[in-house]
């Protein structure tokens, strides 16, 4: 292996790649724009649908009689700008099911002990829980009845000579003890770990196929095999090139997310009283860079091994697809809501360990023992994959395009059967 040769080959691969539209789109443009645009699209869609629902007038049928003291409630419902009382609806329950009506409000006398209170009454609301419009109608009626009840209770209190403080038997308040930063870390811990893994994989995918199967398809493999460079240098240069594009894709994606996530999610979180405060500690940033590098180095090696036998770019994509699916496993296992955390035991599971390492780092948690094991496991995995890649290149049938373009056929014929 010769570092001068590696440098020449590496620059050659990068220069060639940056002129390929597919690689630029997948490795640079998608990481920058996909998720911010996707989040913005989701937010816009949600607010649009919310606006539509809020803009609809609720159609309500009112049944039953109110006590004399509260007959004005019915009139107050009728004056609500976003609610219309329908007078002539046959079979109202069927009308709700058919979407012609949103709710049925039934007033009836209060039952039991509370029935002795003057003017007390009972309200039943029938609505369709599967329809947003019907749920909105219920909320509007409930809100109007609540307001009416508060006013009625105040009047009752006044009649009994109770002042405002006496009427407040107990006070109920709630306080969100989490800081904006806690909320941010919780949101980012999940989103960034998922997006980083996916983006690094996407960034490696096309270059890994292009530099192996693509070379074979373009008939430049044999050209490369006849140059003066050591075969080990060729493997390392190609590998570093694929890993570089994976790291670049991951880094661009994280930067794009960090820049856009506040603007995109702030309005959504604002409704719940939370806010976003995006700030990563230098240590967290360092661990994330390390994690992205480990991911890229692992994905690059695995994808190159699988794609190298393919006879065409298309075959290469098919060969590497299973690797892409395997990448989703750690996301599922280590994702938000999972009880799996980085520990001495879980750190030995490749990819899952890196996923958890990223999540923890964003939350400011550093399990150093787990991180050390993760580093060791990743290095061993990458070394094994690179040695396999080097061994594959030593088989001349690899160059002549044997093994039906399949890694599995190669493993069966040369690694397992004939050595």
């Amino acid at each position: 292996m010769n570092w001068r040769e590696i440098g020449i080959l590496y620059r050659h691969e990068l220069r060639s790649a940056l002129r390929e539209r597919t690689i630029v789109v997948n490795g640079i443009l998608i990481p920058i724009f996909l998720y911010p645009v996707m989040l913005w699209g989701m937010f816009t869609a949600v607010t649009f649908v919310q606006g539509l629902n809020e803009g609809f007038t609720s159609r309500v049928v009112v049944e039953g009689q109110l006590p004399a003291l509260n007959t004005e409630l019915r009139d107050s419902l009728a004056t609500l700008p976003d609610l219309r009382i329908e007078d002539d609806v046959a079979e109202p329950r069927a009308a709700i099911a058919e979407g012609r009506l949103d709710a049925i409000v039934t007033f009836s006398p209060a039952q039991g002990d509370v029935g002795v209170l003057p003017g007390n009454f009972r309200v039943d609301i029938a609505y369709d829980g599967s329809e947003t419009r019907s749920v909105n109608a219920r909320d509007r009626v409930e809100s109007a009845v609540d307001r009416w009840r508060s006013g009625w209770l105040e009047e009752m209190g006044d009649d009994l000579g109770l002042d405002v403080e006496d009427r407040a038997v107990f006070a109920l308040t709630s306080e969100n003890v989490s800081t904006a930063r806690d909320v941010s870390e919780q949101v980012l811990g999940y989103m960034l770990s998922v997006f980083l893994i996916i983006m690094v994989a996407v960034g490696c995918f096309i270059p890994a196929v292009d530099t192996t199967a693509g070379e074979r398809e373009r008939s430049t493999w044999e050209t490369l095999m006849t140059v003066g460079a050591d075969r080990g240098s060729i493997v390392v240069a190609k590998y570093l090139y694929v890993a570089t594009l994976g790291i670049v894709a991951g880094a661009l994606n994280v930067i794009a997310l960090m820049v856009s996530i506040g603007a995109v999610l702030e309005p959504l979180l604002g409704e719940s009283g939370a806010s976003l405060e995006v700030a990563l500690s230098p240590m967290a940033a360092l661990v994330m860079v390390g994690a992205a590098s480990l991911l890229a180095l692992t994905f690059a090696a695995a994808m190159m091994v699988f794609a190298s036998f393919a006879r065409s770019f298309k075959d290469g994509q098919a060969m590497v697809s299973p690797v892409m699916w395997l990448i989703f496993l750690p996301i599922l296992l280590g994702g938000e809501g999972s009880d799996v955390n980085l520990s001495v035991n879980t750190a030995v599971v490749p990819l899952l360990n890196v996923s958890m390492m990223i999540r923890d780092a964003i939350r400011g948690v550093f399990v150093w023992e787990g991180i050390a094991i993760t580093l060791g496991v990743s290095i061993v995995l990458v070394t094994v994959l690179l040695l396999l890649a080097r061994r594959i290149l030593s088989f001349e049938e690899f160059l002549t395009g044997s093994f039906d373009g399949s890694f599995w056929r190669f493993a069966k014929d040369r690694l397992l059967t004939r050595g």
Partner: protein
């Protein structure tokens, strides 16, 4: 016996290559061939498709590993010193394509550098090649956008970008039109004049007849004859290379015999 004037640039002794196929078992693609090629000489390997020409040349370029025998390029063994061999070699064939996304100039720079040409002389060398092959007008155009004729010129230029002493051309005129094929022959003549040792494989008799100083006739992995055109004529009594070729092939057909004395100056293994 002919006197050997130069130290061989390429030395091949009892070279063998067998492939294994599940259905057919062991197949001897190259079956114990020996020859030398010296500087300033075009050595032709003539044979039908499947004769073993490409396999032989791929072993010399270290793409394939010999099953037996030995071969060296400029004194470097093809098995033990692959990198050195490749640095002393330029390999051109229909299966060695160019990188489509690089420009012609970038292509030449890359191949000069990766084959170990001194860094401080790379630009001068590339300029020299650009002028020599008349690609100045297209030097900054991407290879994928060049005409086939221009691609061929760039391809030859990249083969000699590092100024190697030994050049291998494996069926170089396959797929070329008449004008480009003539141009290819002219370039090889020039390389010979520059003192390069050129190995030239073809199944086109007229090209071999015109270009090659010595000719080796390959058939089913075996070298049936080796010598200058005149020596082969004397040996067979035929004038045209096509008739000479047919005569040799016909004589050995169905037998393991090699035409006596056909190896000329080459020391045959075991002799």
């Amino acid at each position: 016996m002919t006197t050997q004037l130069h130290t061989p640039a390429v030395r091949v002794r009892d070279l063998r290559k067998t492939f294994y196929e599940e259905e057919r078992g062991e197949i001897a693609a190259v079956d114990g061939i020996s020859f030398d090629a010296v500087p300033g000489e075009v050595f032709g390997l003539l044979g039908a498709n499947g004769a073993g020409k490409t396999t032989t040349l791929r072993m010399l370029s270290t793409v394939l590993r010999p099953t037996g025998g030995s071969a060296s390029v400029m004194g470097h063994d093809v098995v033990d010193e692959g990198g050195k061999v490749r640095q002393n070699l330029g390999f051109y064939s229909a299966s060695t394509a160019l990188y489509p996304r690089l420009t012609a100039r970038e292509t030449l720079e890359f191949f000069a550098r990766i084959n170990g040409y001194p860094e401080d002389r790379v630009q001068a060398r590339v300029d020299q090649l650009v002028d020599r092959f008349g690609i100045r007008e297209y030097e900054h155009g991407r290879v994928e956008k060049l005409s086939s004729g221009m691609k061929q010129k760039v391809s030859i230029a990249r083969t000699i970008a590092h100024d190697p002493p030994v050049l291998i051309f494996d069926e170089p005129t396959v797929g070329l039109d008449v004008m480009n094929a003539i141009e290819m022959v002219r370039v090889i003549d020039d390389l010979k004049a520059d003192g390069k040792a050129v190995l030239y494989s073809s199944h086109i008799m007229s090209e071999v007849e015109k270009l090659c100083d010595r000719i080796g006739i390959l058939h089913r992995g075996r070298l049936l004859a080796l010598g200058t055109l005149d020596e082969l004529r004397k040996k067979t009594g035929e004038h045209y290379l096509e008739e000479i070729f047919v005569k040799f092939v016909t004589e050995v057909s169905g037998s393991d015999a090699v035409v006596p004395g056909a190896f000329g100056q080459i020391d045959r293994p075991g002799s």
